[in-house]
Amino acid sequence: MKIVLVSAGLSVPSSTRLLGDRLAAAAAPAATAPEPAPADVQVIELRDLAVEIAHTFTNGFPGRALADAFDAVAGADGLIVVTPVFSASYSGLFKSFFDALSVTDPDALAGKPVLTAATGGTARHSLVLDHALRPLFSYLKAVVVPTGVYAASEDWGAEGLNGRIERAAGELAALMAGLSTSRPLPRRDSFEEVVPFEERLAALRPTG
């Protein structure tokens, strides 16, 4: 089992990354329970990939480090994605990563469990999870975990955050276990499944 954490935090240390780490720490053992060994966790810091993400749009193809990150995301059994709130939504860097991913590999997230999380300076932005992140990942055909986790600055010293983390991590783990027993969506490779040319010609022939 493998969990990939995508963090769009910008500062070091970052509360976005901190929230991501807490979610991963809770989800990794839950995903493999009752086995003693927790799921592998790989962290992708978008800050480190910011320039390659921008170049994907100017070049048309991802650089090497970004291509590796895309492979990791595509190969994950579950994703945890965490963004700071910028201007009442996910950050541009966060969106750009998933834009670049979907340009490169449109089905990368199809059928994949995704736990969404966000951080902000105030609790007033908490609906960003349901109004911005959930539709984005629904569009990308991911299976979005019912509980998202939003952490405002004051939450780090308040009660309740731990419980939300535990609940969301448990839901992610359950989906990972449930979906991994179902058959994965076949990845389409147009190079290996060429439509024979006669079929294309025949499809264009006038009927009757």
Partner: protein, 364 residues
């Protein structure tokens, strides 16, 4: 093996002077570049086809006909001819006419264009891009091979008892390449007909080129045209050279940094590392070009993009001198080494005519 150049025909300001050539200057420069290509011993000149600024070559056979009259050996080609939005009847006629005028020094490359709006400009539906390429080419293929054609399809009005005129020179249609960067359907189309496949091989990592060429070669053999190694492959490439590689980098960087397509993006160093672009000495160009064979196999045609991004004509002509004098002679020699005997040359009018006569003789 053939070597040549292909031009996009962009009108781009020279970033070092801020000067933009007029359309007339750019069109005449393309002609001068084509004539220079013959002078320095290259084999092929290919022009793009575009119907939007900042590009000038909207009417390829007009330009190629003019170049044909002023050259002796050069093969005139396209990169690409829009099989999607041009009427295949007009393509059949234009290129047959050019064949006669140029004494057979003509082939062409089919493509689907680089901009979506070109479809509605010519009354077509962009969502039908692949289907238009399939149907239009199927008709074109017949118009050049059958004197009288009855035809009905999805995208143009039916033809009854139609004869495309003039007939191809000596009854031999121009050789056709199909160009595509990432559509397996087009590699499949080229393989089905036993036509050539061209990958522009620039702006993208070599891995893209490799997958497309491998698919084309496998399918070429599947359709019984020969072994995978005998399939007809062309590649693009993009180079800028000076005797001293540091001079090449210094001179090309301002053009690279603001160039259409990749400008304002990665550094010159990153781009040369990740794509087939070479900026350096003639020796570096030779080494990088020879390495194309490692992922594309022994191939038939190498075209270089030399005249874009606002490079002044004088510089481009100097580049062609270097290409013709220092690079291509070495490439010819080196590519010939270890080339298996069964790998054919790119088809030409005379080779296609000889094959046609052979077949006729065998039938008689």
């Amino acid at each position: 093996m053939q070597f040549g150049i292909f031009s996009v025909g962009d009108v781009t300001p020279d970033p070092t002077t801020g000067r933009t050539p007029t359309e007339r200057e750019r069109i005449k420069a393309m002609v001068a570049i084509a004539l220079k290509a013959e002078e320095v011993g290259l084999d092929v000149f290919a022009t793009g086809e575009h119907h939007n600024p900042p590009f000038v070559p909207s009417s390829p056979t007009t330009m190629l006909g003019y170049i044909a009259a002023r050259t002796e050996r050069l093969v005139l080609s396209t990169s690409t001819t829009l099989i999607t939005t041009n009427d295949p009847v007009k393509i059949a006629e234009d290129f047959a006419m050019l064949q006669h005028l140029a004494d057979g020094r003509v082939d062409l490359m089919m493509g689907r264009g680089n901009t979506g709006p070109v479809y509605p400009w010519f009354g077509q539906d962009v969502r039908q891009g692949i289907n238009l390429a399939v149907e239009n080419y199927a008709l074109l293929h017949r118009l050049w091979r059958e004197d009288v054609v009855d035809w009905e399809g999805k995208f143009r009005t039916p033809l009854q008892g139609f004869t495309s005129t003039p007939r191809p020179l000596d009854g031999v249609p121009p050789f056709v390449w199909h160009g595509s960067i990432r559509s397996p359907e087009i590699a499949e189309q080229a393989a089905y007909y036993g036509d050539g496949f061209f990958h522009n091989n620039i702006f993208w990592p070599a891995d893209h080129t490799k997958r497309m060429v491998e698919l084309y070669r496998a399918r070429y053999a599947h359709y019984g045209h020969g072994t995978p190694e005998q399939a007809i492959v062309g590649l693009g490439g993009q180079v800028f050279m000076r005797k001293n590689s540091q001079d090449a980098v210094r001179e090309f960087r301002p053009y690279f940094d603001v160039a259409p397509v990749y400008g304002h993006g990665p550094s010159l160093e990153e781009f040369t590392e990740q794509t087939p672009l070479t900026v350096g000495s003639p020796q570096q160009v030779i080494e990088k070009t020879l390495a194309f064979r490692e992922y594309a196999g022994d191939y038939q045609r190498q075209l270089f993009l030399m005249d874009h991004a606002g490079l002044p004509l004088k510089t481009v002509l100097e580049q062609l001198d270097l290409l013709g004098e220092e690079v291509v002679p070495v490439l010819r020699e080196e590519f010939a080494k270890g080339r298996p005997a069964g790998v054919p040359d790119a088809p030409s009018h005379s080779s296609l005519l000889a094959t046609a006569k052979e077949k006729e003789g065998a039938r008689a």
